[in-house]
């Protein structure tokens, strides 16, 4: 169930089919590479040249934005592999290093360039964001993050410490080293998952609100409510004890 340990030798690059992207996997040797392919839109005008990107080391990352800009950020021994489709329109590709033993590919996000472009419907966004997170509350963060699992029984109460164990997995593969961010009414905490794909947070919200959990392995988020603090004391009360 766990992602396999990194191999010492340089693995062959995993190339996902066009229109898909490799999920994030850890390769400390920095020899992996990935690629993403731009997706020509059906309508609309965008920057010529789709985009593609790749990266070589686990610290590096690459991403393409919906505006049609591609970039590669190869660190270490990686290489950028822009394979975007030129032409009017938009597309994006996002890539992260993948190992041959962990070739998890997922549908990409559909980029939109130009005001009149209509994005094709995608059932789910499972594209690595490689260290960056969509803004909380934005359209990319609004839907449910499929790679993030939080115990349903978790109940967060203001002014009480709560331990939240976040599991990050794609399908049955738990992701090690994935970046997980928790946004509480008091601020943001970021951690990486351990070897079991679990990141443990201990939070103590000071007030009611929401706790938003995101991972860089997929778009979307999980949201928990922060319940009102317990009250054991009341001022200006009218007791009705037996007296």
């Amino acid at each position: 169930m766990l992602a396999p340990p990194p191999a010492g030798a340089a693995p062959a690059p995993t190339v996902c089919p066009p229109g898909t992207a490799a999920t994030r996997a850890k390769d400390p040797d920095g020899n992996g590479n990935g690629n993403g392919n731009g997706q020509p839109p059906t309508t609309g005008n965008g920057n010529p040249g789709g985009n593609g990107n790749g990266n070589g080391n686990p610290g590096g990352n690459g991403n393409g934005d919906p505006g049609g800009n591609g970039n590669g950020n190869a660190g270490g021994n990686g290489n950028a592999n822009p394979t975007g489709t030129p032409g009017p329109g938009a597309g994006n590709g996002t890539a992260a290093p993948a190992t041959p033993d962990d070739p998890v590919c997922a549908p990409p996000a559909s980029g939109v360039a130009g005001a009149s472009t209509t994005a094709p419907a995608q059932p789910a966004l499972l594209v690595p964001t490689a260290g960056s997170f969509p803004v909380t509350g934005s359209s990319l963060a609004r839907r449910t993050a499929r790679c993030v699992a939080v115990p349903q029984a978790t109940r967060v109460v203001a002014k009480e410490q709560t331990t939240i164990r976040v599991r990050v997995a794609v399908g049955a593969t738990r992701l090690r080293g994935a970046l997980v961010r928790i946004t509480t009414p008091d601020g943001t905490v970021t951690k990486r998952t351990d070897g079991y794909g679990v990141a443990t947070f201990r939070i103590r919200p000071s007030r009611t609100g929401r706790v938003t959990i995101q991972a860089d392995s997929c778009f979307g988020s999980r949201v928990l409510s922060v319940h009102a603090a317990r009250t054991v004391s009341r001022q200006a009360a009218r007791p009705v004890f037996a007296g």
Binding site: A237, P239, A242
Partner: protein, 233 residues
């Protein structure tokens, strides 16, 4: 040699159907380490740690005073694949206990205090970490409205709107309820509170509540947290 074997059989039969043979873990050592928990969702309390146990009470998330409902936790046990807690109930009869699922309450909190009230000597004694830290005279219920005896807990803390009234400067609500007052507003809960008639203390002066002088209830407030177990003897 026969006696232990017989005892084993009797204990095994007493376990509820489907329950694992896990022994209950005692969580109540008044004055040293007692536990309380806030109720997270309405739940029925059972006579045994099982969904099939007789219903002995029902817990809600709020008290009649508008505070969060809490229960004193006596023991923990795993039965039928679930964790259960034996808790003190703020229901009639006074001092009732029952079993509720562990996931119906929040985290267990520990208190190291214990309030002992003697209706015979009319003294209240607060024990903290095994040491007596406060002992004050009190007023208790009259003969016809006796203060119920048993094992209870502090349920909430109320600052009266009128500190010159009959409840004095401060009132603690307990899980105890009068056994004789049946039509008292709010369910005839027994309080521990101050008074505007300190000259009557100590004595059998109340409808069942435990009265203290205002200065004593304020000293108690500084030492005793909500959730403290209370023994009335």
């Amino acid at each position: 040699m026969r006696a232990p074997a017989l005892a084993t059989v009797v204990v095994a039969l007493a376990l509820p159907a489907g329950a694992a043979a896990a022994p209950a873990r005692d969580l109540s050592q008044p004055g040293v380490s007692s536990h309380l928990a806030f109720v997270d969702r309405p739940v029925a309390a059972r006579s045994t740690p099982s969904d099939h146990g007789r219903r002995v009470g029902r817990l809600t998330t709020r008290t009649g005073d508008g505070t969060s409902e809490l229960v004193g936790v006596l023991a923990e046990r795993r039965a039928g694949g679930r964790d259960w807690l034996q808790v003190q109930l703020p229901t009639k009869p006074a001092g009732a206990t029952g079993w509720i699922p562990r996931n119906a309450v929040g985290e267990l909190r520990r208190v190291s205090t214990w309030l002992k009230v003697s209706t015979r000597t009319m003294q209240a004694t607060l024990v903290r970490d095994g040491q007596v830290v406060l002992s004050v005279p009190v007023g208790v219920g009259q003969r016809r409205w006796p203060t119920p005896r048993g094992f209870f807990y502090i349920r909430d803390r109320l600052v009266p709107k009128q500190p010159w009234g009959v409840y004095g400067a401060l009132a603690f609500g307990t899980s105890a309820r009068s056994r004789v007052l049946t039509d008292w507003p709010g369910g005839a809960f027994i309080g521990i509170h101050g008074t505007n008639q300190p000259g009557l203390l100590p004595g059998r002066v109340s409808h069942g509540c435990i009265r203290m002088r205002d200065e004593d209830i304020l000293r108690l407030d500084a030492l005793m947290p909500v959730g403290t177990p209370v023994t009335v003897s």
